[in-house]
């Protein structure tokens, strides 16, 4: 029994270490990044779009706007597609089809993001360039690629939410004479709505945090986009692009970019957690 206790303690310590590492990462990012924010001032950091770190300008407004727009674009594509897919798989499709479709969709989540980015560069970007104009590397390309990348997240969580709706609801609705679609639309979807919103928020978190694929297809230009065909740079791409060489204030500025990203993702995840709790 002495041994039992010992193992228990070791496991507890191991479990604790994962939380500790999260705390350490948080502290580290803030320690590295905050001095710069204080140095340049929050206004010059968040409300300026002049980013020239080697010359002492650290405005990330353009990147914040780009991150938001890219994510929004991804949601416009991903949410209807993902939701439709989830409804079919949870409510309509025959078991055999579900048996094939669900693992396929889960496979989609397993494809590394660099592969999405590569496909985007090779196939999507030239299409946009030839048919819509501009350099091809654009807000639109990034949104489309991310829209596909968030599908697994949105679909699997939405399916869980739909399946969790008690069958009694469906039976009751059909007994009252509603068709299957009416049942889904008026009964099942409202009953599952908090779960579905969670799915969408987590999908947003995935989209805003994605880096590799976005670097490859977004073009990474520094100005605020005026059209969906303009190249954009997101917060994540900014860090990944420049960290390799950055020293001094430049490096701190990248960590400060990380703080902004950290706060955005924390807000998204917290709201997702709160929404699921309320159910």
């Amino acid at each position: 029994m002495h041994k039992e206790k010992f193992i228990e303690k070791v496991l507890f310590l191991l479990a604790l270490s994962s939380i500790t590492s999260l705390a350490l990462i948080t502290v580290f990012i803030f320690m590295e990044g905050l001095p710069l924010v204080l140095h340049t001032g929050l206004r010059n950091f968040i409300l300026s779009s002049h980013w020239a770190p080697t010359r002492g300008y650290f405005g990330i407004l353009a990147m914040i706007i780009s991150s938001v727009l890219v994510t929004l674009g991804a949601m416009i594509l991903g949410v209807p597609l993902g939701l439709a897919c989830a409804i079919v798989l949870a409510e309509f499709s025959p078991p055999r089809l579900t048996f094939i479709l669900k693992p396929t969709l889960e496979l989609l989540a397993g494809i590394p993001s660099v592969v999405y980015g590569f496909l985007g560069v090779i196939w999507l970007v030239p299409l946009i360039r030839v048919y819509l104009g501009g350099p091809g590397l654009s807000l639109l390309a990034a949104s489309l690629i991310l829209g596909i990348m968030v599908l697994p997240t949105i679909i699997s969580i939405s399916i869980d939410a739909l399946v969790a709706v008690p069958d009694m609801y469906r039976q009751g609705s059909i007994a009252l004479g509603a068709t299957q679609w009416q049942t889904v639309q008026r009964v099942v979807l409202p009953a599952a709505h908090s779960g579905i919103i969670t799915a969408i928020i987590l999908g947003m978190g995935r989209a805003i945090g994605e880096t590799m694929a976005v670097i490859m297809v977004a073009g990474n230009a520094l100005k605020i986009p005026t059209s969906i065909l303009d190249p954009v740079r997101t917060l994540t791409s900014n860090i990944a692009l420049e960290l390799g060489y950055a020293t001094g204030l430049h490096r701190e500025a990248l960590f400060a970019t990380g703080i902004v990203l950290f706060i955005i993702i924390m807000i998204l995840n917290l709201s997702a957690t709160l929404l699921t709790r309320r159910r």
Partner: protein
């Protein structure tokens, strides 16, 4: 534990020795498995870390330019293969950082992709290769030559349309490198006259991806190291001078720079052997194959 000993550990893991041991321990499966697991792991690490080879020379450290770094790494790799047991560490950090570290004695050799300034002249400089920066466009682009002024205007965002250069009415898709890149630094130094590159320019983080985009986009214009130009892109002449090896060496092509190694005193020991190797015909041939222009 020193850096190279870590490598030894991982090489050992790659050979599968400790992994096998661990598996056999696990299958024994009892309550003390964790303890034994840790003991075995520690012993493995200890044994493997002692296997690092001792050399007659102390390790050589080269620090500096990130543009020189890949070439220096390649050279070091070949050199270490030919001389088993010696160790050469190649680090980045930037030309100025490398020169500074060398002056302070923090590393034996500094790598620089810019010329030494007056206050650094006390250092011994050893040019190892020439590199040029080529301005590239799509092969279908009829343009053959740009003046340095036009190039500056394009990268300032003042000259936006191919029409102004005598081609179709299409926007120029300007591609630059990320802030902090050595190639960008040289480009800005030679072309931009301390002015900023337009924020509308696309930014790519390697020579390769700049070339990839220019190869695919008829209206793109970017800059890469001359050695990486291939037949999928077209290098433009600047002020009528083409980026050929001869023009780069004679400095007639303006976007040219030397790669230097610098040292505080006449290099001795491993540093001297390594420099001799770089300047020898095989070393220079290697650099030429990697896309640079030989100094000898």
């Amino acid at each position: 534990m020193q850096l190279w000993e870590h490598h030894a550990v991982w090489r050992g893991l790659g050979r599968g020795q400790p992994v096998k041991l661990l598996i056999s321990r696990q299958s024994a499966g009892n309550n003390g498995v964790f303890l034994k697991f840790l003991v075995v792991l520690t012993v493995c690490l200890a044994i493997l870390s002692c296997q690092a080879k001792k050399s007659e020379y102390p390790p050589l450290t080269i620090a500096g330019s990130t543009s020189v770094e890949p070439f220096a790494e390649k050279l070091a790799e070949v050199f270490m293969k030919e001389h088993p047991g010696v160790l050469i560490n190649v680090q980045g950090g930037g030309s100025s950082a490398g020169i500074y570290a060398c002056r302070q004695g923090a590393c034996q050799l500094g790598a620089s992709s810019r010329e030494l300034v007056e206050s650094e002249k006390e250092l011994i400089e050893i040019p190892i290769a020439w590199d040029g920066i080529a301005i590239i466009v799509h092969p279908s682009n009829p343009l053959k030559n740009l003046t340095l002024k036009e190039l500056r205007q394009i990268f300032l965002g003042a000259l936006k349309n191919w029409q102004d250069l005598g081609w179709g009415p299409q926007a120029i898709h300007v591609i630059t490198r990320e802030e902090g890149s050595g190639t960008r630094e040289t480009f800005e130094h030679i072309v931009m006259e301390k002015k900023e590159i337009t924020p509308g320019a696309l930014v790519q983080d390697s020579n390769g991806s700049v070339r990839e985009i220019v190869a695919a986009d008829p209206y793109a214009l970017g800059y890469i190291s001359v050695g990486l130009v291939d037949d999928r892109v077209k290098a433009l002449s600047i002020d009528g001078v083409a980026p050929t090896p001869e023009n780069i060496q004679s400095k007639r092509y303006q976007l040219a720079r030397r790669f230097l190694l610098v040292s505080r005193s006449e290099p001795t020991g491993l540093a001297k052997k390594f420099i001799d190797f770089i300047l020898s015909p095989p070393g220079q041939r290697l650099l030429t194959l990697e896309g640079l222009v030989a100094v000898r």
